[in-house]
C-alpha cells in the first residue's frame, strides 16, 4: 500500500501520471484527420457542390458546405424487413408499443438521419476554393495589361539590431543567441546583441488595378432563376479576378430600357419591367469607365448577363457601344442565361457578341442553362480571356 501513501491526497496531481491527458486528445486528433479526409472528398466534387450551394452572399469570405460524416464500413447484414428485440417493462403479449410512423426507432439523436448519420458543416475559405479550382482546372493566370502607374509601398527588407518591439524576429534572434552561446559557453540565454528586428523600406511597385463591371439585364423577361444563375456566375468570376488583382473594384449596373448603377446589396434585388435595350447598359458602363476608371490605369473587365432578347432596333447602337468598349476593356464576356439555353447563342445579343468574337475582339460568350454549368462558364471565360490579354 506504499503506492497509496506516496500518491499524495490528490491522485490527479501526481506528475508521473498526470500531464499528457490534458495536453493531447487522441479523439480530437483523429477527428481532425476525419475532417481532412472529408475536405479531400469535398474538394474532388467542389465544382458541383459550390455551384449548387447557396454560397453567394454579399462579400462572403467563407463557404459553408453541409457534409455527412464518413462511415468506416464493415460487413453488415441487410436491414431486415422485420426485426426482433428484447425489451423490458410492463408489457403483455399483443401490446402495440408504437404505431407506424411513430418515430420510436432508438438511436435517433438530434440532427440524426436514417442510420444515425450526423450532418455537420465544414467551412471553406473562398480564396482556398478559388486556388483549388484554378489548380484543378489549370486555368491560366491573367496577364495584367497595364502596369505603368507606380505606387509606393512598404516591403520587408533585411534585419537590424535596433527596431520596434513589434518587428522583433524571434526565430532570427534565437539563432543569433544559439550562435553566440556556442562560442561563449556559459552565458545568459539572450542579450540585447542577439535581437534582430525586421526592417521596412519603401519601394515603388507597379500598380495593378482592375475594375470589373457586372452588367445585368433586369427586364421583365429575366426570371428569378435566371438571375440566381447570373449571380452565382458573377460571384465566382469576380473571385477569379480577385485572385489576380490586389485592387479590384466592382461596379454593378442593371438595365432594362435604361441603365442604373447600384451598390452590391441593391443590385441583386433590383427587378425591373419592360423591354431590353442592351445599348443603354453598355453605354452606362462606358460612361463610368470614362469618368472613374481610366483605361490607362485600370484593367477593365465586363461581364454581361442577359437572356438575349434585345430589341432588334437597338442592334446598330449596341454594336457601336460594344465596339467602343472592346477597345478599352481587357475582356468582355457575355453570359446568356435561360432555362432553355441553346448552345448556339442565336438570340439577338448572342449574335452580336458572336460576330464581335469572330472579328477578333476580346469578347466571348457562353450560354448557361443549369446551375451545374456555372463552372463550365467560368472556365470558358477565363481560358479565352488569357490569350487575349497576353497579346495586347
Amino acid at each position: 500500500m506504499d503506492e497509496t501513501d506516496s500518491q499524495s491526497d490528490h491522485p490527479g496531481s501526481n506528475p508521473r501520471i498526470n500531464g499528457w491527458y490534458e495536453l493531447f486528445s487522441r479523439g480530437a486528433r483523429d477527428w481532425l484527420r476525419h475532417n481532412e479526409k472529408v475536405r479531400e472528398a469535398v474538394r474532388e466534387h467542389l465544382p458541383e457542390i459550390i455551384a449548387g450551394a447557396d454560397v453567394v452572399g454579399g462579400g462572403a469570405r467563407t463557404v459553408r458546405v453541409p457534409v455527412r460524416m464518413l462511415e468506416h464500413y464493415h460487413f453488415r447484414l441487410r436491414r431486415p424487413g422485420e426485426r426482433d428485440g428484447v425489451g423490458q417493462g410492463a408489457a403483455k403479449p399483443g401490446d402495440v408499443l408504437a404505431r407506424p410512423g411513430q418515430g420510436q426507432a432508438p438511436g435517433k439523436g438530434a440532427g440524426g438521419r436514417d442510420d444515425g448519420g450526423l450532418e455537420f458543416t465544414l467551412e471553406f475559405k473562398v480564396e482556398d476554393i478559388v486556388d483549388w479550382l484554378w489548380e484543378e482546372m489549370q486555368l491560366p493566370n491573367l496577364d495584367a495589361r497595364v502596369g505603368k502607374a507606380e505606387e509606393a509601398d512598404w516591403t520587408r527588407e533585411g534585419w537590424d539590431k535596433r527596431g520596434a518591439r513589434s518587428r522583433l524576429d524571434r526565430r532570427r534572434s534565437l539563432r543569433e543567441s544559439v550562435k553566440r552561446r556556442a562560442i561563449q559557453g556559459e552565458s545568459p540565454a539572450f542579450t540585447d546583441d542577439d535581437l534582430r528586428f525586421r526592417q521596412l523600406t519603401k519601394r515603388d511597385q507597379p500598380a495593378i488595378q482592375a475594375v470589373v463591371f457586372l452588367l445585368l439585364d433586369v427586364s421583365g423577361s429575366m426570371s428569378e432563376r435566371d438571375r440566381q444563375l447570373a449571380k452565382t456566375f458573377f460571384f465566382w468570376a469576380v473571385q477569379g479576378l480577385r485572385r489576380q488583382y490586389r485592387h479590384l473594384d466592382t461596379v454593378f449596373v442593371a438595365h432594362t430600357t435604361e441603365a442604373w448603377e447600384f451598390n452590391e446589396q441593391e443590385f441583386f434585388q433590383v427587378s425591373g419591367s419592360g423591354g431590353t435595350v442592351a445599348s443603354t447598359g453598355l453605354a452606362k458602363v462606358r460612361e463610368i469607365v470614362a469618368e472613374r476608371f481610366s483605361p490607362a490605369r485600370y484593367n477593365v473587365y465586363l461581364f454581361y448577363a442577359s437572356d438575349g432578347d434585345n430589341y432588334t432596333a437597338d442592334r446598330p447602337q449596341a454594336e457601336t457601344e460594344l465596339t467602343a468598349l472592346a477597345e478599352v476593356a481587357n475582356y468582355c464576356g457575355y453570359l446568356e442565361v435561360s432555362a432553355t439555353a441553346e448552345r448556339e447563342l442565336g438570340s439577338e445579343t448572342g449574335t452580336l457578341f458572336k460576330s464581335m468574337t469572330a472579328a477578333g475582339k476580346p469578347v466571348g460568350s457562353f450560354a448557361l442553362g443549369r446551375v451545374e454549368d456555372v463552372w463550365a462558364a467560368v472556365r470558358h471565360f477565363f481560358q479565352h480571356q488569357a490569350p487575349q490579354s497576353e497579346q495586347p
Binding site: 460487413f75 447484414l77 408489457a91 403479449p93 418515430g103
Partner: protein, 452 residues
C-alpha cells in the same frame, strides 16, 4: 473530493479478499472526464490512430453533452490491472466504483475466456496496445499517412473477423496435403512400382500441394496477413496488431452481461458489509448503486432494450441465493454470456425482470410477441453471435490471385448490405492487391456476387 477515497481503498480491499475475491493488484488512477470519454471510444487508453475513432469520439461527445452517458470507471484486466476513475466522481461514487472495479478484476482473473486472452495476447494489454500505437506511428513516419491508413481501413473493417477458437499465434497451413493412405492389398501397385524407372514416381504423387485455404477460413485478419500475395512486412504487422487487439476485445464483448452483473453484485455486497463508511457516504453510494442497476423501465413504462447491469446483477443474485458463492464462482469460471443467459435466465426470472420480446415491422409498428423463453434468450443473444459480425469466411484463392469470400447467409438468416459490402471489398482490394469477391444472397434469396 477524492481525498478520502483512497483512505478507504485498503479497507475495501480487505473486505473483498475476506469475501473470497481473487484478483490481481489494480492500479487506480483518477483521470479527466475527457480522457474517460476517449477510453470509451478507443476501448483502450492508448490505441492506434484512425479517423474512424474520431467519428466515434464526436458521437460520444454529443451524447455526453446531451447527458445520455456518464462514465464512472473503466477497468483493464492484467497483472497489474488498470482502473481509470473519472476525476469528477464524488467521494461516495468513488467508493462504490472501487468495489465495482474489484469485482471486475476478480472476474477477469478467473473467467476462462479472459484468462485465455491474457495468456495469449498479453497480461498487460494497456502497455501492449500502446506498443501497437507506437509501431503504427513509426509506420506512418516511414510509409506516409495515406498508405498506413489504407491498411488500417482494411484491417479495422475486419476487426471482428477472427476465429477465437484458434490460437493468437497460429502457424501457416501445412504446405502439402497429407498423403493418401494406400489401399492395404496393393499387389498390382507394388509390382508396378517395382518395374524399372518407376521407383521415384511414387513419392512425387504423394506430395500434393494443399489448397489455400484447406477449409473455409473465418479468421480473415490472419488469413490476409499470411496469404495476401504482395503484402509488405509492415502491413502484415498492422494486420496482426489489429488482430491481437481483437482477441483482447472478444472476452470483454462476450461476457458483458456476466461481467457487469458480477461487478455490480460485488459493489452492492461489499458496500453492505462496509461498516466503516460514514453514514452519508453509505447512503449516497447506495443511491448511486440503484441508479446503476435499475431497470430501464419501471412502473408502467416500457423500454425497448435491457440494461446489462440490471440483467446481470439480478441473475447473479439469484444464482448466489440458489447455489451459494461456490456455485456462482463455478459459473463465473466456465460461462460466457451465451451459456449464462441460456442456463440461468429461467421463465420465472424473465417474468420477474419483466422481459418481453417484441417485433418491429417495416412500417415502424412495434408489437409485443408471444411468451417464448427460448426465443427470448436467442433474441437477447442474437447481436452477440460471431463477435457481432456476419459470418464471412475465405474459401478460395483463384489462380489469378482473386480472393473468394463466402457469406454464410444460412447462419445469419439474410444477406449482406450490398453497398457496405462493396466498400469493404474496396478496402480489402487495396491490401490484397488482386480482385476480391464475396458471395451472399439478395432479398429474394438468390445468390449474388459483389466484387471489387
Amino acid at each position: 473530493m477524492t481525498t478520502e477515497w483512497r483512505d478507504f481503498l485498503p479497507r475495501i480491499e480487505k473486505l473483498a479478499v475476506a469475501a473470497g475475491l481473487d484478483y490481481n493488484p489494480v492500479d487506480f488512477e483518477a483521470v479527466p472526464e475527457s480522457f474517460m470519454m476517449e477510453i470509451a471510444v478507443y476501448g483502450l487508453p492508448v490505441r492506434m490512430p484512425h479517423w474512424s475513432f474520431g467519428v466515434r469520439y464526436i458521437y460520444q461527445l454529443i451524447q455526453h453533452r446531451m447527458g445520455h452517458s456518464r462514465l464512472f470507471e473503466v477497468v483493464f484486466p492484467g497483472n497489474p490491472g488498470h482502473a481509470y476513475l473519472a476525476r469528477n466522481n464524488s467521494l461516495a461514487e468513488n467508493v462504490l466504483v472501487t468495489a465495482h472495479v474489484l469485482g471486475h478484476a476478480d472476474f477477469s482473473r478467473n473467467n476462462l475466456l479472459f484468462k485465455r486472452s491474457q495468456q495469449q495476447v498479453s497480461d498487460n494489454i494497456v502497455e501492449h496496445a500502446a506498443q501497437h500505437a507506437r509501431q503504427i506511428a513509426r509506420a506512418i513516419e516511414e510509409h506516409g499517412q495515406k498508405r498506413v491508413e489504407a491498411v488500417l481501413d482494411a484491417a479495422l473493417a475486419l476487426e471482428q473477423h477472427i476465429d477465437v477458437d484458434q490460437s493468437v499465434r497460429r502457424d501457416r497451413y501445412p504446405e502439402y496435403a497429407p498423403a493418401k493412405a494406400l489401399p492395404p492389398d496393393d499387389t498390382f501397385r507394388t509390382r508396378f512400382h517395382a518395374l524399372e524407372g518407376e521407383g521415384d514416381a511414387k513419392d512425387a504423387v504423394a506430395r500434393q500441394r494443399a489448397p489455400v485455404p484447406p477449409r473455409p477460413e473465418r479468421d480473415l485478419l490472419w488469413f490476409i496477413a499470411n496469404y495476401a500475395p504482395e503484402l509488405e512486412g509492415w502491413e502484415r504487422d498492422i494486420f496482426l496488431a489489429v488482430r491481437e487487439e481483437s482477441f483482447y476485445f472478444y472476452p470483454v464483448f462476450a461476457t458483458q452481461i456476466m461481467n457487469e452483473g458480477w461487478a455490480s453484485y460485488w459493489h452492492a455486497r461489499l458496500l453492505r458489509e462496509a461498516d466503516f463508511l460514514p453514514q452519508q457516504i453509505y447512503v449516497d453510494a447506495i443511491k448511486c448503486h440503484s441508479d446503476v442497476v435499475r431497470p430501464l423501465a419501471t412502473g408502467e413504462n416500457v423500454a425497448l432494450n435491457v440494461s446489462p447491469y440490471y440483467l446481470g446483477f439480478s441473475l447473479w443474485e439469484e444464482i448466489v441465493k440458489r447455489d451459494g458463492l461456490d456455485g456462482a464462482r463455478r459459473v463465473l469460471r466456465e460461462d460466457d454470456d451465451f451459456s449464462f443467459v441460456r442456463n440461468h435466465l429461467t421463465a420465472e426470472m424473465a417474468e420477474k425482470l419483466a422481459l418481453f420480446r417484441y417485433k418491429v415491422e417495416g412500417s415502424g409498428a412495434v408489437t409485443v410477441t408471444e411468451r417464448d423463453l427460448d426465443a427470448l434468450r436467442e433474441t437477447l443473444l442474437g447481436p452477440k453471435y460471431n463477435f457481432g459480425a456476419p459470418s464471412v469466411a475465405a474459401t478460395r484463392v483463384r489462380v489469378d490471385g482473386t480472393l473468394d469470400l463466402e457469406h454464410d447467409h444460412t447462419v445469419d438468416g439474410r444477406g449482406l448490405d450490398v453497398e457496405r459490402g462493396k466498400k469493404v471489398l474496396e478496402y480489402l482490394r487495396r491490401v490484397w492487391r488482386r480482385p476480391v469477391v464475396i458471395h451472399t444472397v439478395d432479398e429474394q434469396g438468390a445468390t449474388v456476387e459483389l466484387a471489387a
